[in-house]
Amino acid sequence: MPNAATLLILVPLLPLLGALVCLAAGSRRALACYMAETFILLALAAGTLLVWNQANLAETSGLSFRNTEDLPNFEISLGRLGDRGPKVALNLAIDGLNAWLVFLTLGVGAAVIATSKSWVGEYPGAAMALLLLAVSFTLMAFLSMDMLVFYVFFELTLVPMFLLVGIWGGPDRQIAAQRMFLYTLAGGLCTLLGLLALAVPAGDFNWTVLRNSDFSGEGIFSRPVIFVLLMAGFIVKTPLVPFHTWQAITYVQAPTPVTAFLSAVLAKLGLYGMLRLGVFVMPDEMQTVGAHLLGSFAVASIVYGALCAFGSRDIKSLLAYSSLSHLGYVVLGLVSLDPSGLQGAVFHMVAHGVVTAGLLLAAGMIEAHEQTLVRTDLKGLLSRYPAIGGLFVFFCLASVGVPGLSQFVGEFLCLFGFFKSGVATLLGPVAVFGVMSGLFLGGWYTMTLIQESFSGTPETDETVPVKPRQLVVLGSLAAVVLWLGLSPQFVLETSGPEIKLLEQRHPAPATPVASAVVPGSAPRTIAE
């Protein structure tokens, strides 16, 4: 078995190599698709090995904390930024925070590539290369322990996405691509500014160094300001209301499998940034500024996203808004800073990724045949697509939060963190009402979609046969949904050791106040 350091560089390198090979394949569609699949599956195998080791490590070591330096890593120093500027290094490592996101990226990447034959048109090599490039960049961002390198790849993921949307997208692809680009760039530059403000005094971009830095702010760059700057890019990338307006049009205009990758993986990059740079590097600001700012944005996203999802015109924009709504719960878990809430948030990122990938890929398969995803044009899809439609309903139930399927545990733990940590009391009864009503509204728009488009009698009675490849892709995603729902503990525990680091940072944390607010009543506080 190759050692962990080799695997660490192999995992992002394999898709990169695959991208080059695919470019060489040019317009030979079969060859390009075949090569892309080979390389992503190789990367998936390597990644699974890596993640599995890491998860087992967490399970055997239990909840004892560990230093990130002790983890297997791959490191090349890149010198300093400027003469006496902070140190930069290519430092790849896998820990509890990124392990399952790496797995998610590879798994969803493989699913997307395996189902992308239909839309690549005249440039199959270029499309496959860009998809592989997106996977590779995302992996680099997730694995990088150097925050500047993280930032660079965080931004670089935009390039393949921008081209994929801009070239292969729908009629409004130019507007969509530009809007996505402008928004995320604007947010990203704020993040860069914040990162520099933090790293220059610390003298290093390394995550551990940043975490332990006691820089207390200087001039206008006080810590709360740095925090807000840092978070700006992540808020846009996730996105959260009111910085979401690039999302729906991009999701609709992008080829549907690309939308699946955007929603399942790239949205998590923003949340991951909040986790690694917000929760771990600036926990105090997260607890004060973050709880107010991100917490309110999250609550707004939950309710506003759900309402927009109901009012959306096509299935893709419904799913985009639904993502907006569901990811709000992850943010609530993050701002809670409660160990269970954080574990739930990390878990929920993966759980949501799998479900949303399943929904969008299934929708894409229907779109490939129907040529439309406009809700009013579709009727009786369950009769026309018994297998794909049935799996779509299954993913819908998972998305609504039915226990036993993946999203329930994540949502439950995030909400637990939200209530227990006192963020609920902080944000007040209106926010609590919003958060809880989001759970109902999720069922409301989802069931309405199923009733309108999937039930009923179709215009033609001919059943569209399902391809074995489609069944394998959706079936394995469904199996993961069930696995995550029924035995989530293995995945939940992986992030345990890192979350312990937070408690280590605060040897005597301010006694958390267990509190709960009941909708319609004054906040009640109960001392623990």
Binding site: R179, L185, F310, S312, P403, F416, S455, G456, Q489
Partner: protein, 661 residues
């Protein structure tokens, strides 16, 4: 009766939910190639579950006391407390699970005949097995979160089975309505779990941990209130009752199983566990007061539902809807008696009073399951013969054509109306007696209980009226068969009549066997947190009044409908029929005040976001785009633009940074 080692008990208990779940998977997989095997697999799975629960019942009948808790694994952990896959086996759970699996088995057998020839029958049997598994999890779970899994699981099965014929728009709409209305309650239930999880004492979220935790009276109140909302949604009580009549769009065996005998009683089961359980071990007045105020609500809502649903049942022309409203009304009885709160009464402690009330509700739950399932299956048998016509105006006088169905419907109707000595008589009497006793204490709530008692009594009369109205219209008068039935209208096949006969026998004997003999009372007294005291069966005033009400109801139905079953339809009951047609205008009220405004809000917000907010922000983005436009070339301008902008941005930011330093 006999001893079984703990390992054997644990294995048997595991069989109860797991066998139907395996059957669900197997019949779904097999069903795609050999649909005819699906009913066989499902019936074996459910029969296995029944056999296991019967063994458990017999093995634990002799020696009660503490509940057995069996551990099978961990689901997830929450702040160092693990949520475990555990079964909690006590008398109440065992009795429930026996009833559920027994009735499920006979309904699966009935469905074999009923669903014969339906294209999706493999899906049907797979979902029914899944439902039985989920219901077993709901009943047997030790952790509240696992119970919630079962609770949502039965809800999802109900959703999928109501919408079983999803090509019919009505079925699809009914499925969505059922899911969403119960979802409202489910969110409240989830809120209760979160509230309990936030209390250090009850964080483990098992029944025992919650019941023994030292909770504030305020927390007890909110937890119970949220649980009540959950129970009201699931058990279709006012004001969340609107989904159940629509749910009749599902296949009739589903209505019998899910929407009469089992799932809809889950709310009663939950409250019958929690009201006595939350009293705690010692007498804590503030806590009892909190419980009592939630109980008042439960009783009040139950009374409203019992009476209004009975009124709506009186005017229905759809036989299944009569039964649906009747289910609402009977569940209302169970909620009413759950409202009997623990004012100290004589030498009995408050806990004992609440325990006895919970016993009465569970007794009625059990007997109701048998006779209501029987009534639904009889209606299904009628539907089967009449070519899926269920409008009572279109058929009549079927007693000669369908003798077995006729006899079983009559038995069910007599049991429902509460004629001695059928099972409904004993359990309804128990409820009326508790309400009567409550009204005699002279405490501050005695007037409230007196009202509840009179509602119960009036409803008893109305119940007898509407069910015999349906009986006379369907089986008496001139023989009338709709043309959809073709020329082969006949008694149903054996696979359907045998379950009818079995359930008919049960409806006659179950009440008599376990009620006045004290068997059920004795058995359930071992259920922890119920402080039951021995009581002997005797004739009492509420019983006589109840029987009188039933006779009156039947007599009125006989006078109005026996002779004129086939002639004048709308006579003196015109008002009720118009009220019933409009469902007392409650659905319309919701549609106007909640459903449509919410949908309109969604559409408006969606439109605004699409058409107004995004372009508005676009305006702000025009400036950079104009700048960018200068650098854009015709060929591949987008990529260059990106690179340039990024570089420019970097320079600007670095410059700002230097200035700031």
């Amino acid at each position: 009766m006999f001893e079984l080692s703990s390992e054997v008990l644990s294995g048997l208990a595991l069989c109860v939910p797991v066998l139907p779940l395996i059957a669900a998977v197997v019949s779904a997989v097999l069903g795609s190639t050999r649909p005819s095997l699906a009913p066989l697999v499902a019936s074996i799975g459910v029969l296995g579950a029944f056999a296991a629960s019967l063994l458990l019942l017999l093995a634990t009948a002799g020696h009660g006391g503490a509940a057995h808790i069996f551990h099978y694994g961990t689901w997830f952990t929450i702040s160092h407390h693990s949520i475990d896959w555990e079964i909690r086996l006590d008398a109440l759970a065992t009795a429930m699970v026996c009833m559920v699996t027994f009735i499920s088995f006979w309904i699966v057998i009935f469905s074999q005949g009923y669903m014969d020839g339906d294209l999706g029958s493999a899906r049907f049997f797979s979902l029914v097995s899944l439902f039985v598994g989920a219901m077993a999890i709901l009943v047997l779970a030790n952790s509240l979160v696992v119970m919630f899994l079962g609770w949502e699981g039965v809800g999802v099965c109900s959703y999928l089975l109501v919408g079983f014929w999803f090509r019919k728009p009505e079925a699809a709409a009914a499925a969505r309505k059922a899911f969403l209305v119960t979802r409202l309650g489910d969110v409240a239930l989830l809120g209760a779990l979160l509230l309990l999880a936030c209390q250090p004492g009850s964080r483990a979220l098992t029944f025992d941990a919650v019941f023994s935790a030292h909770l504030d009276a305020g927390i007890v109140y909110f937890v119970l209130l949220l649980l009540l909302i959950g129970a009201v949604g699931k058990s279709a009580q006012f004001p969340l009752h609107v989904w159940l009549p629509d749910a009749m769009e599902g296949p009739t065996p589903v209505s019998a199983l899910i929407h009469a005998a089992t799932m809809v009683t889950a709310g009663v089961y939950l409250l019958a566990r929690f009201f006595p359980g939350m009293t705690g071990e010692s007498v804590d007045l503030s806590r009892l007061d909190a419980i009592a105020s939630v109980q008042d609500l439960a009783g009040g809502l139950g009374a409203i539902t019992a009476l209004s649903a009975a009124i709506m049942a009186m005017g229905q022309s759809d036989l299944k809807r009569v039964l649906a409203y009747s289910t609402l009304s009977q569940l209302g009885y169970m909620f009413m008696v759950l409202g009997v709160s623990g004012e100290p009464r004589g030498e009995h402690l408050p806990q004992e009073v609440i325990g006895v009330a919970a016993f009465a509700s569970i007794f009625h739950l059990l007997t109701h399951a048998f006779f209501k399932a029987l009534l639904f299956l009889s209606a299904g048998s009628v539907m089967h013969a009449m070519g899926h016509i269920i409008d009572m105006n279109r058929f009549g006088g079927l007693r000669r054509l369908m003798p077995i169905t006729h006899a079983s419907f009559l038995v069910g109707a007599l049991a429902l109306a509460g004629f001695p000595p059928l099972s409904g008589f004993f359990s309804k009497d128990e409820i009326l007696l508790e309400l009567w006793n409550g009204s005699l204490t002279g405490g501050p709530r005695s007037a409230f209980f007196a009202i509840l008692f009179s509602v119960g009594l009036i409803t008893a009369g109305l119940t007898a009226y509407y069910i015999f109205r349906a009986y006379f219209k369907t089986f008496h008068g001139e023989e009338k068969i709709p043309h959809e039935a073709g020329h082969h209208a006949h008694e149903s096949p054996r696979s359907m009549t045998v379950p009818l006969m079995v359930l008919a026998v049960c409806s006659v004997v179950v009440g008599l066997a376990v009620g006045p003999t004290g068997i059920l009372h004795h058995y359930l007294s071992h259920s922890s947190h119920w402080h039951l005291h021995e009581s002997a069966f005797s004739v009492n005033i509420p019983m006589i009044l109840g029987v009188l009400a039933a006779f009156t109801g039947v007599a009125v139905a006989w006078m109005l409908h026996k002779a004129a079953a086939s002639t004048a339809k709308k006579r003196s009951m015109g008002l009720f029929e118009s009220l019933a047609d409009n469902r007392l205008y409650i659905d319309g009220l919701y549609l106007a005040t909640l459903v449509r405004p919410l949908a309109a809000l969604g559409s408006v917000v969606g439109w605004l976001d699409r058409e107004l907010i995004s372009p508005l922000i676009e305006l702000g983005a025009t400036v950079p785009r104009m700048v960018g436009g200068r650098f854009r070339s015709a060929q591949n301008g987008l990529l260059q633009f990106y690179a340039l902008a990024m570089a420019l941005g970097l320079i600007v930011i670095l410059a700002m940074f230097t200035v700031a330093r």
